[in-house]
Symmetry: C2
Subunit: 505 residues, 2 copies
């Protein structure tokens, strides 16, 4: 373990998590490493939660502002949310305890495009970052900090913070060294930032580790804890059907010369449908694919193992426990095939647009005109956040949203008259896929979209009610580009609230 | 005039507009030059309208699909809309006759981000382009086509069309030659497109004219007609107040080190408020400013004349008749100070984000959470379109929307409980300004936004009703990130419909 800390200045600062947490003061803004349950600090957040509890038990105020890459885990978001003293949180989360305090108004949650946060911090829009708490797999002799299973926002937090706390996690393999590509060319205030020189997903343009001001390191904590790696559910029929439709769409695009035979680089959101899509690609004819995405899931690793994907660029892993174990044992085999970048590079519209990335993300609901809600249940309750879906969707060459057509045993229709919150506008959504089929909205005016969305994607049990809404909307006014019935736009959501189901009786 | 056409192949094809229009067939997709009433062909569209009328009078079907840069003029969108045979239109318009056939369902209108259309056409998503009809100021000896007062989409249409018709317009000055920068590095299908090498608004990276396949030229028509240049209204008090608040905001940002002393490059939408802002900058302390925008308005020319703006990059002029006359007389003085680029470069998120552009656009309405509607009256009726507002807003370092707080003598509040159509999501809107003040939404969670938007921006007469809505929304549910009352979200719009005013009685 001593070998993990190759620099004396860091060795001199080794201490317990509780001693490290003592450097964090009430009111501090803390930038934590961590993205999608990977590479977050494991012990300092818990120690900080204890410190907050002790202070508030004494009647003192101790609120903190929490910045991360994206979602973390119970050991970070969970324990800090449970103090009821996380005053502010950005840019993404998926934790049950945190969701609760966000929705009850305890925590101010700023739901921001993942590619935007770094720029907003560097421009000074989000206030100072007081402390960076970053997980590392090793510290090099010359004091560089090697990230673990995610890169996320750490470059920015390490550069901006007044104090730095490093957790060196022995559970993470040292063989991750060389898998990261830390680009320093952007991240400063414009203008006069150079073009990002990535022209293919595998391009290496940066450093293998973070360069930091070592004088700012106030504590180093040794840990040996696994990431929050959740097993994937076995593939269900709906996911397989959705994956099948997506592959049909790819075939169609290639056949019509709209995409090369090895496809455009793929982005896929996190979750079971995404994994089903990747499993579908494993059995497909496609070869020499690439990925320019946010997270590396099991299915992506399988595609690399099978030689179907030559290189995958992301900012983080999000693996099952088995796949994480496999990666820890064999990380060196993936060097050059998997690249982890800062999230303002992995999600940068400049690169996404240049490479022609295909985006594929889940959603909560879509409406009959192609607006998509990714974040709010019935317009009010925050689920997780927009994450990187907007970064990829807006700049993709082909933007796709996927979801089963219903939720809660059919009580909720994914297709509604009007979404209760808009995260992706009708200008940005090209294709919607459910287990019933594909709605290809490219080149369609608003009046042409309802029939393809309702008839191809909505659950058959909801189609009559959706058509009825649309027919009524058409009659409300003579001058209508987008037929909308103000009185019934949220009728599905109101029925759900009042009767427990969106289904008309 | 012969001197305007320096190439024999083009001279051989000189003919009347009616003869040229005969090359356009029923069902054709036509790519016209033209952006914001500048640089559109003046005579072939009218001849085409006559050809359509004659055919349909004979009982034949003659529908056309119309692609442009952005809005054009009565001589193009007006005459073609009035045939009732414009089957399809994209990506932007502002014509009264066209608006009518869009809203009555005669014309399918695809309202697309201006930076996206070129890519979508090149990927084959919008079908073939059969004919390009492009206005030129001159044809060089080697057969290059020099655009006039806009560049817009012409590079793409000229490259993709099977037939090319050129209007050479003597009204446009030949001194425009050298003001255009036609970049060919993008515009092809990804992947493997290079970075756009613009790192400052004044960078010249392309050609001075379009390179085309001269064998595709079927007709050349000589014209001598002015652009649709509309006079600006005199600056009213509200516009001056909004401009004043915007300048205060700039001062604030510079003072806090968030912006350089010469500001970030400016983008400003079209219209009277935008012109007021530019007039305000003329009297400000700011020097050595630059602009990376879509259109050059009178105010921008004044800023260049005064030496306050060193260089302005755009895709089009949009001048008053007086300013257009001045430009025609003195265009050579502006070479190097004004640069007109293809709209997929002027509006490209890669460059906008790199340069840190400040975006400033008008809107129809904003809601108390910061969602913005730029396109639809009461969610249904198309006004103009999203234009480039999304291109700039999403990638700006500071994204601003401006509007008077009311319209129709106070019957319509610009600030509503929920916008009736979302073009810019709450994730993308940083600042809202009305004549009452500034709502700075940066870093605010949804629960923090209503008070700043209502109290700083809404008209005082509407504040009580907006607060009442919000207070009720807060009570609808315990678990609320974004307080929304499904039953009353559109109460302002319903009241307007039912009583003629959004004001509660």
């Amino acid at each position: 373990m001593a070998g993990r800390i190759g620099n004396q200045k860091f060795l001199d600062k080794v201490m317990s998590a509780d001693d490290a947490a003592a450097f964090i003061e009430p009111g501090d803004s803390i930038g934590f490493s961590g993205f999608t349950g990977a590479g977050y600090p494991k012990e300092v957040p818990g120690a900080l939660a204890r410190r907050i509890k002790a202070a508030t038990d004494r009647g003192e105020e101790f609120k903190v502002r929490v910045f991360t890459g994206a979602s973390t885990a119970p050991e970070l978001d969970g324990v800090l949310a449970e103090t009821n003293n996380m005053a502010f949180r950005t840019p993404y989360q998926s934790d049950p305890s945190l969701r609760k305090v966000i929705n009850n108004g305890t925590t101010d949650y700023c739901d921001i495009h993942l590619s935007h946060l770094s720029k907003m911090i560097n421009l000074g829009y989000m206030g100072d970052i007081d402390v960076a708490v970053v997980e590392a797999t090793l510290i090099t002799e010359d004091g560089k900090v090697v990230p673990t299973s995610s890169v996320g926002m750490s470059r920015t937090y390490l550069a901006r913070a007044k104090k730095i706390i490093i957790e060196v996690n022995e559970w993470q393999t040292e063989d991750l060294y060389g898998m990261h590509d830390i680009y320093y060319g952007i991240g400063q205030v414009p203008p006069n930032t150079p073009p990002i020189p990535i022209t293919a997903p595998g391009d290496l343009i940066g450093e293998k580790a973070f360069t930091i001001d070592t004088d700012k390191v106030v504590a180093v904590v040794k840990t040996n804890d696994p990431d929050r790696n959740s097993p994937f559910k076995p593939l269900d029929d709906d996911s397989k059907k959705i994956a099948g439709y997506l592959l049909d769409l790819f075939d169609h695009e290639v056949r019509h010369g709209r995409m090369p035979a090895n496809l455009f680089p793929l982005q896929s959101g996190v979750g079971n449908i995404a994994n089903a899509v990747l499993a579908g690609l494993l059995d497909s004819k496609y070869e020499n694919m690439t990925s320019y995405t946010e997270v590396i899931q099991d299915g992506m690793v399988n595609l690399i193992d099978a030689g179907k994907i030559s290189v995958a660029s992301a900012t983080s892993f999000s693996l099952s426990p088995d796949a994480a174990h496999h990666m820890n044992e064999n990380a060196s085999d993936y060097r050059g095939k998997i690249i982890l970048r800062p999230q303002d590079v992995s999600n940068h519209p400049e690169v996404i647009r240049r490479l022609g990335v295909i985006s594929c993300n889940g959603m909560i609901e879509a409406d009959i005109f192609g607006n998509v809600n990714s974040t709010h249940i019935s317009g009010t309750r925050m689920m997780n956040g927009i994450g990187g879906s907007g970064d990829f969707t807006r700049s993709a060459s082909l933007s796709i949203f996927v979801s089963p057509s219903t939720a809660k045993d059919g009580a909720i229709s994914t297709i509604v008259p009007m979404v209760s919150h808009v995260d992706h506008t009708e200008h940005d959504v090209m294709v919607i896929i459910t287990e019933y089929g594909v709605a290809d909205l490219r080149g369609l005016s608003p009046r042409r979209r309802p029939e393809v969305i309702i008839d191809n994607c909505a659950h058959p049990d909801y189609r009559a009610a959706l058509h009825e809404y649309y027919d009524r909307a058409l009659k409300t006014n003579k001058a209508i580009h987008t037929p909308m019935d103000l009185d019934n736009a949220f009728s599905f959501h109101q029925r759900l609230r009042d009767t427990g189901t969106m289904m008309p009786s």
